[in-house]
Symmetry: C2
Subunit: 323 residues, 2 copies
């Protein structure tokens, strides 16, 4: 059976629907399943072809259970969606492969880089991509942006503009980095959806300019034929270990047009629906590469430019719900 | 022409779609228009049958311009959606009515009550609905909840559990009220959608139990045949000046089942889509009452119980967008 499993599906209704559409156009009977820690309350589970409750990724049996689940349900491809799963799943790619199951994910070694902001900065430097300067705590220039090297969301993030705002906490906490501050007012932000094939060659590059963010997720964005595409494409055209969807966030200085790499998430990002709707069909390419023999992916630049996405709350209904 | 105008439509895509469906089922050619301060970026405007940019409600010409717009576009009914519009629109109900345009909104005198938490508490007392005690600043019992009498969102809201957390700011700022603290862990929260007809008689009462809130908007909720319906219905069955959709938020103590009125918003709330989808068809009743002669509204209790709504981000696409 040619089924697909999307893990920790949560609210990713659009992503599940895209996979359903693309999969069923090739294998009419195939199914897109989902997992979640709370599937009854996960809208994406409710629209998938079947869902399973999974314990947290931190539990000791996670991999064994996921493997068992995939085997029992004829799953050929696993697509993870959240950061906490990436390391452990990439570490176990071969375990799944030995059972004929492909986890569409980058290599463990490269995954580790993007969990640590200092390593991420070294990565950017290696590929000739500018990023915010890291200052030493003895020698810095205000304003600075402070964040932990291994943080997520905006926990322990500080914008420091005057010396008085700095406390012992900032100096003594070794997790906190002192970084050059890139003022949001002086920069525009792009999230780029990159597709890397099985050989880690870049096949597609869609910059989505952010217009508005709501609760940490992009709410309004527009695809742009940005001036920096050829330069960054060239620098990133082959990166060992990259596979599938990679989400790359950059700031562009409005005056100097200088580009700063901010972070990389080696998974589908929350804003990917815009790229799909612009015809950058990553789900179809994944199906081609990982389910269909001898079907490679060509370079694709023909996505729709200047396509704006406005998001709104839509509803999934569950009848006779008792909780 | 029997057109409807929804003002400050923003992201209320579902509400606009419900009005479109109900209106066109009666008047096939009629249109649902929208306004917004930024209509190009408002998803609800993009799906309406036409949209108009309006200056902020605080501008001096707002009412004149809105009236002109409504006349020129054959608008029979205006449905406001945000708090800042309610007072000025209710003050001008007769101005619109003189031109044959109905603003579906409660009376100015009752609107004022819900902009002031002290008046709101008096309102609850008058109707025999329990609410959080207000303490004097000389004589209070911890824990307390502090909020401004005229606040919105959660600006200047404080949970105070120990004497040390209280500062001069809390004591000297006359806008700040000291209220009995209703612990979220000990209460469950319902938002009730009420429909009042032209005679200010209550016709429908749908309690939506909140399961999860995201960024201030309900994200998961379920309709419930709550035990308190008969009692509160009786107390609120006629309230002078109430018309159309009224949104009433209550807390219910999990142990004692005591009910506390929290606030009332005399407009469609962000969570109304669940009530509509449960068949509490307020848009149709508005059309019946304000566009069709001699068609009253009957009491309606036959809405679907235990209907759960899970929300997710859906997309509206705009092609060739240049900004």
């Amino acid at each position: 059976m040619n089924n697909i499993l999307i893990t920790s599906a949560g609210r990713r209704v659009s992503l599940v629907r895209f996979f359903q559409k693309e999969l069923k156009s090739v294998f009419a009977e195939a199914k897109v399943f989902t997992t979640d820690a709370n599937p009854d309350y996960a809208s994406a589970c409710r629209i998938s072809d079947g869902y399973f409750k999974m314990q947290r990724v931190t539990e000791p049996n996670y991999i064994d259970d996921l493997l068992q689940l995939a085997i029992e349900n004829g799953v050929k491809i696993i697509v993870p969606t959240i950061d906490t799963e990436l390391l452990i799943l990439s570490k176990n790619i071969e375990v799944f492969k030995s059972k004929g199951i492909e986890v569409v994910i980058s290599d463990y070694e490269i995954m580790k880089i993007f969990r640590d902001k200092r390593l991420t900065h070294q990565f950017f430097e290696k590929y000739g991509i500018n990023c915010a300067k890291e200052y030493s705590k003895e020698n810095y220039q205000l304003p600075i942006y402070i964040k932990p090297y291994d943080g997520s969301r905006s926990v322990d993030n500080f914008i420091i503009t005057t010396q008085e705002q700095l406390t012992d906490y900032h100096f003594q906490n070794d997790k906190l980095l002192f970084l050059e501050y890139l003022d949001h007012k002086k920069h525009t932000e792009f999230t780029i959806d990159l597709y890397y094939d099985k050989n880690s060659d870049l096949k597609c590059f869609v910059p989505r300019q952010r217009i508005e963010v709501r609760d940490g997720e992009v709410n309004k964005a527009v695809t742009k034929d940005a001036f920096f595409i050829p330069e960054i494409w060239k620098k990133m055209q082959h990166i060992d270990g990259f596979r599938g969807c990679i989400t790359f966030q950059v700031f562009v200085n409005l005056e100097t047009q200088q580009i700063f790499g901010i972070e990389i998430n080696p998974r589908f990002g929350g804003g990917y629906p815009l790229s799909y709707l612009a015809k950058a069909n990553f789900p179809r390419w994944i199906i081609q590469e990982y389910m269909m023999e001898n079907q490679g992916v060509e370079v694709f630049n023909d996505w729709e430019k200047n396509l704006m996405m406005l998001r709104y709350d839509d509803e999934i209904l569950i009848h006779n719900f008792n909780h």
